[in-house]
Each structure stands twice: as structure tokens, then as C-alpha cells.
Symmetry: C2
Subunit: 248 residues, 2 copies
């Protein structure tokens, strides 16, 4: 009964962005659990049991991990990016809170990872250089009206926005609706970035404006960044950044 | 004239959270520039020139780095956490935009790092598990009225908040003013976390509520997290998390 559970962020894709702590935790796991394509990014030894899942049913995956841990296994739950940003960590803790009392005494920890928004920001220059927010556009787990409310207030606050779960086959038009809301709050020349599969071989970046932003540039691997009034491109370069200062 | 400049995030402190890409970029630098205590965290070879600075004058440090790069040196600019989050990347790009035209053709890149908020979130459980924002409380580079405006809107939006530059000797009372603003918008039992020097030997975490939050628990190494209405502690554990779902 010396089980343990580590929830690990393995970064956006490139091996060069996986931390030593993540590698160390993976190396000592008996069981590795995660969405299949994420597991394909890491080396899993022959002595380790691989539990590949689809990318839904996160709380069920959390319960499965906790049950294995309770039975004495050393379990690693793998998330892309950072495990705490719209990923598995929250699902595991929800499973603990709603599960049997014994799960509260299990040895559980989280290892942070390079989140998609940080990788995208570094790729572009420094668009997250000043105040920003991260919003999931998925309305699977919250009402769409709340997403709209948050987009409006984030625009009024002048935050740069990182939009996660921006578009999927099940929600093909929500991103377009989000752009419409933002068009009513922000100037039409506000920068919009579609960053897909950053740090992976199929990486793609498209830079647009709110006037021209086309939701079909996004798929389920795309992080969408919305600039603030201060976010700008540096003429003669490919760089985009948000200055640290805002004039009075 | 084959200079290059890499802006590198070295994470919150622990060597286990420095990425292989950061190590690789550091290893090939001829010159390493950064705030002295950050440079002390990394190995700098005898063949490398160390340029330690204080933690102010970021744009001057950026210009210094760019001038070295232009002269043909391989320059690494080091930031704690992620270089793009309230750190050196934005300062370097501002220096490029406002500097000589030739700087726009230099070979400049950014390597992301584990930001303080991600490390703090992992340490606590998953408080950033749903929509959140990051706000710098420093009014050195923006009007304090804008900070207050953003705090109010972030509270109304229901974001979890990561407050950077929460308190310094030069601004001992701004954090208390921020708590007062948040008290007028949020329930008094809203969770407040003071996370100091996370992942370093002197690491300290204090969990409070908005009613009881005491600004003197913060110093310049402290990230302050404000929970949303959904953020909770799991009874019988040390964990704090924000569920992925918000009820209709």
C-alpha cells in the first residue's frame, strides 16, 4: 500500500521542453495513464503498463488512476502542456473530493509543465508580456453565457487573452461567436493569432486581426491569442509583443 | 557578425524545473546576462562572461544584450520563471522596436520556462484548473487606477487571479489596497494564497481568506493567488483546486 500518483505536464510537444522532474517521475512509474497521442511523445519502458485513453472522460481517468494508486501502484497521469491548466490535475482532485474517504490520504503530487500559452508566446516574441487571462471556450462543463460574460469583461479589462479549447468538431462555430463578441468590444485591428501544434513538426502560426479572423483557421490543436490594445508587431520582423508599460 | 540572442526562462528555482532547451541555449552562450540571484542558480562556465545586474532597468539590460549580439556574441538573457511573463522578453522586444534599425535583423529567440504561477498551482493542487488571469500589481509602468480597474473586472468575471509583483519595499501598501478592492467584489471566504520562493529551499505557503488576508505575508518573492467562487480546499488534505465545471 505504498502507492503514489503523480500528475505530470509534459509540455507542448518538443522533447526539449520536458523538465527533468517530469522525466524522473515518469521513470519510476509502474503505470502511465493518458490520452494516446500524449503517451506517444514519451518513452515508456517495457516494465511499465501503458493505459491509453481518449481525450474525454477526464474524471473517469482520474478515478482509474486513484484506484490503481490505492492498490499500491506508482501511477503517472500525463497531460500535454501544464497539467494544471485545463488539463488532468483538476479532474484528479475532483475525483478525490467526490470519491471514497480513503483517497484523501493517498500520496498525490503535481509536476508543472510548459503550458501551450507560454510556448506560443515564446514562439511569437512576448505577446503575454503584460496582464493576460486564459479562458477555455468549451461549454461542455460551463454555460456558454458565462464564456461570453468572461470574454466581454476580459476585453474591457484590456487583458491579452489565451483561448484554450477554441474549436472542435463538436463546437465548430463557438469561436466565430467569440470573435463577434470581441468585435463589439475591441478595435478591428486587434491582433489575433492562431497557433497550432506549437513545438511539434506540424507547427503552424497565422497572424490576423479581429476584423479578418476566420474561425476555420483553428482546430482542436490550436491556441488562439487575442492581443490587447498595446500588443503590436515589430515592423520589419516576425515578432509580436506586448510592452510592459501602459501610458497613463 | 553571427551574433545571436536567446532569452531564457529558467523556471522558479529548482534545477528539476529547468528545461533541456534552456540548458542547451545556456551552454552555447558566450555571454550570460541577468539579475545576480538568477545567475547564481545556473552553472556558468569559465569561458563564459557573466553580466550580473540588479532587477531594475530591464530595458537598459535589453539594449546591452542587443549591442553584444550585434557585435557578434552569443548572448543569453536569463529570467526567473517564464521569460515572457512580466520578465525580460518584453523588455528586449521593446528595446528592438525603439532601437537602431539594424537590431531588427538580429537573430533573437525566446525559450519558455515554468512560470511562478504554474509552479505554485502544482504545489497547491490545481487552483488554476479553470479560467484565470495574471496581473502585475506594480504601478511603476502603468497607472494604479488601471490595476484597480483590472482587479474589479477580473473579480466580476470570476477569474482565479495570479498577482505578480504583489509587494515590494517601494510599494508596501498596494497589496492591501488590492485586497480592499477585491473585498468589495468577492465573498469574504474567497481563498487567498501567499506563495513565496516556490521550489526553492526557503519555500513558504500560507493559505488565508479575503477577510483575513494580511499583506505583510508577502514580499518581493511572493506570488499571491486569489481563488474564484469555485476554488476550494479538499477537506482532510492540503490540496486546493478549482473544478473544471461551473454549474449553470
Amino acid at each position: 500500500m505504498n502507492g503514489r500518483l503523480v500528475i505530470i505536464g509534459i509540455g507542448p510537444g518538443s522533447a526539449g521542453l520536458i523538465t527533468p522532474d517530469a522525466h524522473a517521475a515518469l521513470a519510476t512509474a509502474t503505470d502511465v495513464i493518458g490520452y494516446g497521442p500524449y503517451l506517444n511523445r514519451i518513452a515508456i519502458g517495457v516494465h511499465q503498463t501503458r493505459h491509453a485513453s481518449d481525450n474525454r472522460e477526464e474524471i473517469e481517468r482520474g478515478r482509474h488512476a486513484l484506484a490503481l494508486c490505492e492498490s499500491g501502484r506508482a501511477v503517472a497521469v500525463v497531460s500535454s502542456g501544464d497539467a494544471g491548466v485545463f488539463a488532468m490535475a483538476s479532474a484528479v482532485f475532483e475525483a478525490i473530493e467526490t470519491g471514497p474517504e480513503t483517497w484523501r490520504t493517498l500520496n498525490v503530487s503535481v509536476i508543472p509543465g510548459i503550458s501551450a500559452m507560454l510556448a506560443v508566446s515564446a514562439k511569437l516574441g512576448a505577446p503575454l508580456g503584460h496582464d493576460f487571462c486564459a479562458i477555455s471556450l468549451s461549454d461542455n462543463l460551463k454555460p456558454w453565457s458565462l464564456v461570453c460574460h468572461r470574454l466581454r469583461l476580459a476585453a474591457q479589462a484590456g487583458f491579452v487573452m489565451a483561448l484554450y479549447n477554441a474549436r472542435s468538431r463538436a463546437r465548430p462555430d463557438r469561436l466565430g461567436e467569440a470573435f463577434d463578441i470581441l468585435r463589439s468590444e475591441l478595435p478591428s485591428d486587434t491582433l489575433v493569432v492562431f497557433a497550432t501544434a506549437i513545438s511539434r513538426p506540424e507547427e503552424r502560426v497565422e497572424i490576423s486581426t479581429l476584423a479578418d479572423a476566420d474561425q476555420t483557421l483553428a482546430d482542436m490543436r490550436t491556441l488562439v491569442l487575442i492581443g490587447s490594445a498595446e500588443t503590436r508587431r515589430i515592423r520589419g520582423t516576425s515578432f509580436l509583443y506586448t510592452p510592459r508599460s501602459v501610458p497613463a
